[in-house]
């Protein structure tokens, strides 16, 4: 038994050093040197200021921005509190939440792309479906006093096809779309959020 104890303790110690310290630190060093952008969270800066991560969704509520999906991460898109709603398929609370979210778009829920009414698994989904982006074009164009066709073109350009065409679904990154929108026509600083 003592022999087992010695072998177990020594191997556990050695493996802790190798795969628990050496391996993650070596990967960190490698990542920081070779892929620093990704290794530090794919941050996006504008005019020297970090405006978010290209991979993480953020809350949008002003009419002149495209909106992302409902979020169950903290109070919404909390980057330190990722979570889905975990509401089940026959949850009355879920039905009520969807109806409340649909009211935000002011229409019949059956006409609203369903990803805009359902919370993502992470609560930080950066994307919406192409249909969900197209659906919001009239509102955003009106709020920015832009030609709808111009905004629609922006949306079409922002559509990312899934890798190999089949590995996932087509998507539109909301933050990147809104950044492109701001480049096209700066957001008015007086716009008020819609809740």
């Amino acid at each position: 038994m003592m022999q087992h104890f010695r072998a177990a303790a020594v191997l556990l110690g050695l493996f802790t050093l190798l795969v628990g310290v050496g391996y993650p630190l070596a990967m960190t060093g490698f990542g920081q040197v070779v892929f620093p952008h990704q290794a530090n969270g794919s941050l996006i800066t504008r005019e020297g200021q970090v405006v978010g991560s290209g991979l993480i969704g953020q809350a949008f509520s002003r009419p002149d921005y495209f909106w992302g999906r409902p979020s169950a991460a903290g109070k919404g898109y909390d980057g330190r509190s990722s979570s889905g709603s975990n509401l089940g398929p026959s949850s009355r609370a879920l039905a009520e939440r969807i109806q409340a979210d649909a009211a935000r778009y002011g229409g019949d829920p059956s006409q609203i792309p369903s990803d805009l009414l359902t919370a993502s698994g992470s609560g930080l989904d950066p994307d919406i479906s192409p249909a969900a982006a197209r659906f919001q074009v009239p509102r955003v164009a009106a709020a920015r006093h832009l030609d709808e066709a111009k905004v629609a073109l922006l949306v079409e350009r922002a559509i990312v096809a899934p890798p190999l065409g089949v590995l996932g679904d087509a998507r539109v990154n909301v933050l990147e779309l809104n950044l492109a929108l701001d480049t096209l026509a700066p957001a008015s600083s007086t716009a008020t959020p819609v809740d």
């Binding site: 795969v19 960190t28 990803d115 698994g121 590995l167 679904d169």
Partner: protein, 566 residues
Amino acid sequence: MTASGWILIALFVAAVAALTRPMGLYMAAVFEGRRTVLSPVLAPIENGFYALAGVKPNQEQNWKGYAAALVMFNFLSAVSLYLILRFQNLLPFNPQDFAGLPPELALNTAVSFVTNTNWQSYGGETTMSYFSQMAGLTVHNFLSAATGMAVAVAFTRGFARKSTTSIGSFWIDITRATLYILLPIAIVFAIYLIWSGIPQTLAGGAMATTLEGVSQDLAMGPIASQIAIKMLGTNGGGFLNANAAHPFENPDALSNFLQMVSIFAIGAGLTITFGKMVGNERQGWAILGAMALLFVIGVGVCYWAETQTTPALAAANVNPLSGNMEGKEVRFGIAASALFAVITTAASCGAVNAMHDSFTALGGMVPLVNIQLGEVMVGGVGAGFYGILLFVILSIFIAGLMVGRTPSFLGKKIEAREVKLVVLAIFSSPLIIMLLTAVAAGTEWGRAGPLNAGPHGFSEILYAYSSGGGNNGSAFGGLTANTPFYCYTLAIAMFVGRFVMIVASLAVAGALAAKPITPETSGTFPTRGPLFIMLVASVVVVEAALTFFPALALGPLAEAAANTLF
């Protein structure tokens, strides 16, 4: 269901099938102690480890010695991990100043990671220091996987060897599994994952000011290195709360695809490792065939179910043609989310890229049933393979009863002792699952857990203990599991589900190794054709159906039949 969804599923099956043979043959070389391409680099490290640990490279163990070494190693692992978690506030790499974990959560988490379950009663980004993540959890992502592989290989030696008591050396098996298989693949995979967008930093996170002027605090860390082994070792414990649904754990559909493949890579390969070591590769493919049959059925049902609407979506008048996107990410969509859910529970991985709790009643039942089937469709690394071998022995025994001959498999007579041990191994996990589910459903402590009302609340409890007892680790995440009651009872489920099965499996291996190999005759039940594949798959399904049907009827089946809101 769409054509592209089915092409995705076909691509996945093809990718795993293509990897199976090279992985299997390489692992056979590793476990037979032969030189490999990596030996020039790794052999000095390996020999140094043996010298320091006092392990003799030529000394093997009988099954009791093997089991004692395994239990000792896992016991020390659990104790040391418990202490790291309990006192992480005193240790380095804690930029967010997290406190030490309370005793019940530290115990639950220690047992969880040592048993390869990776059930998480906590949220990673709000609980764990980087030291705990790296030197604690990552280490046992490797070592629990290596332990499972060691048991699978020891079991294999029971068939490969004759008239001997030794089934290998536990120390050598876990050392070689970690050094030659897990670590090199994890390094390559981690490099890809960083490139794909998973953070790998020791900084405490980043602050952003959103376009609407609100500050957003982004949790990060040395994530990629942990995700690589989390998937490869079928561990499944996320660095972050939302697990593989979180964009920082799974940035796009390609990283998602490769993570899915990596969950199955080792488990599928082990069937060929087995075939190679017993000198009959076709036997390995036949076992993989039984696994694949069950897997594909599960994928079909789950994918179909998730394209349907739910009572909640219907009540809110959401377009029924858009399927169920609650709890799913846009970049994956319904097909890749359903496929992931089936893979993660066919293996005992437990990572999730969508919230199973929000799946349709029948769609969510598929992962639950997968776990209850014993996670033998490829399964956890090692655990899935010794799991299916137990079912193979049981199947051969049942076939022997039907035709009235002494059952034998690969020239080994299957006798009373083996069958008793197999039954003990197979039923230990269902027994503890049913027992603890009943206790939870019958007490206020347990009933305080579920988020959802009605049958779905019961499903959350049933899923939790199935996941614990089956060493899976995924959850119907609405359950509030960070309470002393759930922490302790789930720790019991995980412990029994892991170690009773392992020790019984090693005992079977010892009994088999001691037997001579008798040549097959025309009267031997054929074990490499479709009949065998169907038989094994049926035994797996019938065993689980007889055990779990009443509980499933109270949970997901009742919910599906009721088709109303709760």
